[in-house]
Symmetry: C2
Subunit: 319 residues, 2 copies
């Protein structure tokens, strides 16, 4: 297949490029580098099945020749208010990537008869009142909240995707991506895993906010990519959760990180005074992925962290 990937220089986009190239597809990458990094695709420079266009997918985009599939992964995704590439500091670009970007991609998919895959997110569930979250849970998102620029952009993108499927018969699919980690992730992304792993590798005590009772479940990137590719090859049109179901408290997670990395500095508890409240709990119900895609995650937390450490060390200048 000839496959267009937007956000190709991002954490997940670049892994998708690798995986699809390894399966002998031709990949056209697109990115404007406002959050993605050329480093993530530098190793593909000599790959003759890979081409790259520096483009803002929210503007008009044009791809010469046939396009068999489009994976729309372009969007700021970091919830870190301090990060320049987080969606709090790129609110309009985030909303444009979800609305105009998705619209542009669907236009190509309609014209070319391509399979379209939208990268959606567990954030469309907001601060969920139901655990674990099934795909039928409508979510708990305040449309005027500060996080809404990301959440509502993705909800809109899903609705638009379904509209193109229902009204124009476009062959669409939607993956709802839960917390994922691995090499090439943004160390300043603001989420628990990179924050804690960084501290552990630097030999610092791990900072846990509140009592550490908030839960998370973390999916290793190879597992996630595997689920996405299975969805791409399927003929499913409705949203599918892809993520790891192993739920643990942030405190349990911090203890595990210290153990895996051999960090002796322990844990520091801090009051949770952050203004932009993270969800207290988020866990995927992956029944649909199991049934429709015969997919489930395989990489243990210990294994995943071990595979991620070399990348973190390199970024931290410890390698």
């Amino acid at each position: 297949m000839r496959i267009l990937i937007t956000g190709a220089a991002g954490f997940l986009g670049s892994h998708l490029c690798d995986r699809l190239l390894s399966e002998r597809h031709e990949v056209i990458g697109m990115d404007n580098f406002i959050t993605g990094s050329p480093d993530n695709i530098a190793h593909l420079a000599d790959n003759e099945n890979f081409s790259f266009y520096k483009r803002d997918v929210s503007n008009y985009i044009f791809v010469p020749g046939k396009v068999d599939a489009i994976l729309h992964f372009a969007s700021p995704a970091s919830p870190n208010p301090q990060s320049k590439s987080g969606y709090f500091n790129l609110p309009i670009q985030t909303m444009k990537a979800g609305a105009l970007g998705t619209h542009n991609c669907l236009g190509i998919a309609r014209r070319e008869g391509s399979r379209f895959l939208l990268a959606s997110t567990s954030e469309i569930y907001g601060d969920p009142e139901v655990h674990p979250q099934t795909e039928s849970y409508p979510g708990n998102v305040d449309p005027i909240g500060e996080r809404a620029v990301y959440d509502e952009a993705k909800r809109f993108a899903e609705s638009l995707t379904m509209a193109y499927h229902r009204f124009h018969g476009v062959n669409t699919s939607i993956v709802r991506i839960f917390n994922t980690y691995g090499p090439r992730m943004d160390l300043e992304d603001g989420r628990a895993l990179p924050n804690l792993l960084k501290q552990a590798l630097l030999g610092q005590p791990l900072t846990v906010y509140g009592d550490g009772g908030q839960t998370r479940s973390f999916c290793y990137v190879d597992d996630l990519i595997d689920g996405i590719v299975k969805l791409l090859y399927s003929d499913e049109h409705y949203p599918v959760n892809i993520g790891n179901q192993d739920e643990m408290t942030i405190l349990q997670f911090a203890e595990a990180i210290n153990k895996i990395t051999g960090n002796q500095a322990g844990i520091t508890f801090m009051e949770d005074a952050r203004s932009t409240r993270d969800p207290q709990r988020r866990q995927p119900d992956i029944t649909r992925a199991r049934e429709i895609l015969k997919w489930e995650p395989k990489v243990s937390l210990e294994e995943g962290i071990k595979r991620t450490v070399p990348f973190f060390k390199q970024k931290l200048g410890l390698a």
Copy 2:
């Protein structure tokens, strides 16, 4: 003020034109007539304070000269699956009016320093689990449901509006409009009021679905416009519900219609087999409108229906 109104040839847009012209403002109307009607603004043709551009607000729009205020009312809004101008049959246009249209308007507002007012809707609450709905209720909308093309477009428009306010300092406001009726409404709009009033004026039995226990509250258009104009003149930035709190069951409402119009044909009950389920209940909490805008509805149902009947009779060829 010099005021741009998108959707100026629609039900609410045209009433806004009338009201703002009567207050000596200059009004620039814009509409592409996919759901609005030239009939609604024909009486303004000779008004020297009124100008009109036939434009699709989802495309690039340009307004020469200073713009002091922008009211973005352009959108299909009818939930009738049978109506050619309803959002089920215009799903992409509906999503574009909410995303691209709002983005275009906010761009002008930012450049011109205009007051911006977004026409949002009670539909952002979806099928609510809380009654009455306050502005802080996050809603119950399935992003991939068939109604989502309207609901999510408006939720997105709200998020984008708040992002322009927070990030670019644009002077924005958001009105969440509940069920409204009056002259110039779409008789084929598919909602309970026009359906029942039409039948009553034609001397037919009124069709009530299910047991008629679903509730509605109906606001007369003059009241609604009054609330919107008060919001426009205020400096409020957060969403404000505008609607009538007088909740009644559809059955009570049908009985009232028969009484007001003198229809003797009674009521017919029908099974509710419609595929696109209407919310069972929707009622605004208007505490914020009362406190911030000193607004509340004044027109009784009886009075409102009486003022609406001549328009319906004319449209039905009974006048």
